[in-house]
């Protein structure tokens, strides 16, 4: 039995991801604590869990440094990576939306000669505007995208929305949903061939667990 290395994303998906692994019998106790470790071995189940930033989950899995990973589809859409995506997982539901300041909700943005869009998702944003044939200048940010329009950094923003509360609290209003997202299990292509049995049986128990 080859051990499987599974990359997990820090942040909002971590807790439900750990719940799911725990339901399969993995010992995830150490990952819930405040430990600063980033690698956790569970020899009994033949798994090694890695704690990574969400975008790095994709990198580790694409390069085969991890066999599998759990990550949001938003991150997958943004990274355009070459991995298998055999399973969507029932958590991490959200939407990626185009939003504007509330007082400018009525503006016809298509008429703007040059639009500036702030986003943590420059590729998703670019694809969205290219598909519509609109031109836009994308301003890539790593966080706090919500304040960009108020400070004059951008006209609009593209960001992830869960309940919509953050948008509201920052005086923003949704113009359009670009796509929806939820958590997904991704698999490295080489691992899928080299550790086929192990991965198949993990996929099977995940499916069974989620049907319960």
């Amino acid at each position: 039995m080859n051990p499987l290395t599974i990359a997990l994303p820090k942040g909002r998906l971590l807790s439900p991801a750990l719940d799911l692994l725990e339901s399969l019998g993995c010992d995830v106790h150490a990952l819930r604590g405040a430990s600063r470790r980033l690698i956790f071995d569970d020899a009994a189940h033949g798994t090694r869990l890695l704690l990574l930033k969400p975008f790095d989950v994709v990198t580790f899995v694409e390069h085969g440094a991890a066999d599998l990973g759990i990550v949001g589809q938003d991150v997958l859409l943004e990274t355009d990576s070459d991995v298998f995506e055999p399973l969507t997982l029932p958590f991490g539901f959200c939407r990626i939306v185009l939003a504007a300041r509330r007082e400018r909700a009525q503006t016809d943005w298509r008429r703007a000669a040059s639009l500036r869009i702030a986003s943590k998702y420059p590729r998703i944003t670019r694809r969205f505007f290219v598909e519509r044939g609109w031109s836009a200048e994308i301003i890539p940010l790593h966080g706090s995208v919500e304040i960009a329009p108020a400070l004059g950094l951008s006209d609009l923003l593209v960001d992830i929305v869960d309940t919509g509360r953050t948008l509201k609290e920052n005086g923003l209003i949704e113009l359009e949903t670009i796509c929806t997202s939820q958590a997904a299990l991704i698999v490295n292509r080489a691992s899928h061939a080299l550790k086929f049995q192990e991965i198949q049986s993990l996929l099977l128990s995940l499916r069974e667990q989620m049907e319960k």
Binding site: G64, F84, E85, V187, R189, A190, A193, L194, F196
Partner: protein, 401 residues
């Protein structure tokens, strides 16, 4: 801007200097491959490094076409560096070798050039080693190509590798009767490519296909594993004659692979979609422990030669030599020493010169010490070079611990 004095010390992104052990290991792997290909009765071809852009771009995949290095010749014609040896070989066979007895068995070890981001040891200049079996379209020909791929990976010393074998003719047989437009079939292929069952389900539902056809496509990602999946596939695609014929060919191929003793290194995956525009029958990729990307890929491409005027079936594979070298290193298979076995003092002594010549003739690595020095200096030099033995000009010798 880099100052020109700084530029002249740099290399452009995506190329590398290879030297010492690394260069020797590469040459060793290439020599081993050359030997194995020769044992299977393949003959070497050396295509030119550059030729007309039109010839190279013609049948290249859109992705490779984007990556071709091209430049105008002095007479204004567009030239290009080869990005893939198969296309020059197809041109060569169609224009010069078509009337030779078939099948033709050809191999190459060639550097290729692609303007892409270096990924897992494949830089913008990298080396492909591969074969083409041209003029034979039988499952036996497919089996020979796959068996040689497995033999080559074994021969270079890789442990734990696996070939993933799919069949484009099955996929095509399932898709063609549906007469989907490109915009319709693209999301189907991309969902299959990522084994994304949920997305595949959504896409197929939106297309409102006949239920039987939908179900067959939804089964594809599940048809991966050993040869036992063929029985399941035959049941799932029973109403599609062409798919069944393709499955029958695949079953025959698996039987020949068994006989050739390579089945344990091959697994099936009927959900493989990669290279659908180019491959017409079997398609395969090779993976090994330590590298997350394919180290080899190949398949049957029966339409390429027709483009150059000769309608001949063909099957082949290409291996990424640098990726294989990285994998060998990761797997601890990198023993190669360039240290001389013997350091000898070059002087006017003909007897020592003769002894050195005799040792070299036996394959020993002997290095001359080129300056007159004391015994102690010579010992220090030999130690620094990693030699096991010193031969002094006076005829004496000393072993080094």
């Amino acid at each position: 801007m880099l100052k020109s004095t700084m530029i002249e010390r740099q290399l452009p992104h995506g190329v590398a200097d290879l030297y010492f052990e690394e260069a020797a290991r590469k040459a060793q792997v290439e020599a081993r491959l050359q030997e194995v290909f020769g044992q299977w009765s393949y003959s070497q071809v050396i295509p030119p490094t550059f030729e007309y852009y039109e010839a190279l771009a013609a049948e290249a995949s859109p992705q490779v076409r984007e990556e071709i290095y091209r430049f105008p010749d002095r007479d204004g014609r567009m030239l290009a560096l080869r990005a893939d040896p198969t296309i020059p070989i197809a041109r060569l066979v169609s224009t010069k070798l078509y009337d030779r007895p078939l099948p033709l068995r050809l191999f190459y070890i060639a550097n290729v050039f692609r303007h892409e981001e270096p990924k897992a040891s494949l830089r913008r200049e990298f080396t492909q080693a591969g074969i083409e079996l041209i003029g034979e379209g039988t499952p036996q020909a497919d089996a020979e190509v796959i068996a040689l791929a497995v033999t080559a990976l074994r021969a270079v010393g890789l442990r734990e590798f696996r070939l993933r074998l799919g069949a484009m003719d099955i996929l095509r047989a399932l898709l063609e009767p549906l007469a989907l437009s490109e915009t319709q079939s693209e999301p189907v292929k991309s969902a299959l490519e990522r084994k994304n069952e949920a997305a595949l389900n959504d896409v197929l539902r939106q297309l409102s296909l006949p239920r039987q056809a939908s179900r067959a496509l939804l089964t594809l990602p599940l048809l991966a594993g050993d040869a036992s999946i063929l029985e399941r596939a035959i049941k799932a695609f029973a109403d599609n004659q062409e798919a069944c014929a393709a499955l029958e060919r695949l079953r025959e191929l698996c039987r020949v692979l068994d006989a050739l003793g390579v089945s344990d290194a091959v697994s099936l995956d009927l959900g493989m979609v990669r290279g659908m525009a180019y491959y017409t029958g079997i398609v395969f990729e090779g993976f090994t422990r330590g590298i997350g990307f394919a180290i080899m890929s190949g398949g049957r491409y029966n339409n390429l030669l027709a483009h150059f005027g000769r309608d001949l079936p063909a099957c082949g594979f290409a291996m990424g030599v640098e990726r294989v070298l990285t994998a060998l290193e990761l797997q601890g298979n990198n023993v190669l020493s360039l240290a001389p076995e013997i350091v000898a003092e070059l002087d006017s002594s003909p007897t020592l010169a003769q002894r050195v010549q005799a040792a070299r003739a036996k394959g020993k690595r002997v290095e001359w010490s080129l300056r007159s020095s004391t015994r102690e200096e010579l010992i220090a030099f030999a130690r620094q070079r990693g030699a096991r033995e010193i031969w002094f000009a006076d005829g004496s010798a000393q072993e080094l611990a």
